[in-house]
């Protein structure tokens, strides 16, 4: 069964450093998302991406964040200058349409020291 994959599973970085989180969505899906979950809190929407552009972003997704689909398979989230409060689990998700279920990856645990 096809699944969303994410790398790395755990990333530790120093405050102020750039990180890139990588995702490979399910191959025939057209809609891509990033969510994050701070420990003990809700899953929060960050950004949706369709047709090679951002379709919606949350207030969290400020100028320090960017997304890219550099080729036909990868979908990346970049945080330019990490802050302590960026420490969280980051989940990538994909879906066939914007009105159907989303399939989530296993997540990347980001720890900012």
């Amino acid at each position: 069964e096809p699944e969303v994959t994410q790398t790395p599973s755990h990333q530790v970085t120093q405050m102020g450093q750039e990180v890139i989180l990588r995702c490979v969505p399910i191959s025939n899906h057209l809609y891509f998302y990033w969510y994050r979950q701070i420990l003990g809190q809700k899953v929060e929407f960050l950004v949706s991406f369709y047709n090679n552009e951002i379709s919606e972003k949350s207030e969290i997704f400020d100028d320090q964040f960017s997304v890219e689909r550099p080729d036909g398979s990868n979908f990346t989230l970049k945080i330019r200058s990490t802050k302590l409060e960026d420490s969280a689990m980051y989940f990538c998700a994909s879906g066939k349409s914007s009105y159907n279920e989303q399939f989530f990856g296993p997540g990347t645990r980001l720890t900012v020291l």
């Binding site: 969303v4 809609y31 998302y33 969510y35 809190q41 809700k42 899953v43 929060e44 929407f45 949706s48 369709y50 379709s55 919606e56 949350s58 689990m89 989940f91 998700a93 879906g95 349409s97 914007s98 009105y99 159907n100 279920e101 989303q102 399939f103 989530f104 990856g105 296993p106 997540g107 645990r109």
Partner: protein, 112 residues
């Protein structure tokens, strides 16, 4: 603003019983509602989607109801098993880009 509420207290039930979890929402008229399962340290796993014109949806031992008048969804697991122990998340769409807003989840513990 849009708000989703799930019972934040853990639900403890005996194996074989039916678990019922509640999702209430306000300031919202969603076209559909989704339920996900999340295990500790893992990503949400899709379980069921129910649309506004559907009263009830079933999948194996799972059943979801959707009452747009009460603004509530109920999620049932019949003949529960210890392997059903997890956190169950309710999610609603906000807008037409696929953005989901999640409830805080209810943790279910099924004791053998």
């Amino acid at each position: 603003s849009q708000k989703i509420e799930q019972n934040s207290e853990a639900l403890n039930i005996q194996e074989g019983k039916t678990a019922t979890l509640t999702c209430n929402y306000t300031n919202y008229s969603p076209a559909y509602l989704q339920w996900y399962r999340q295990d500790p340290g893992r990503g949400p796993v899709f379980l069921l989607l129910i649309r506004e014109n559907e009263k009830e949806k079933r999948k194996e031992r799972l059943k979801v109801t959707f009452d747009t008048t009460l603004k509530q969804s109920l999620f049932h697991i019949t003949a529960s098993q210890p392997a059903d122990s997890a956190t169950y998340l309710c999610a609603l769409p906000a807008g037409n880009t696929g953005k989901l807003i999640f409830g805080q989840g209810t943790t279910l513990q099924v004791k053998p």
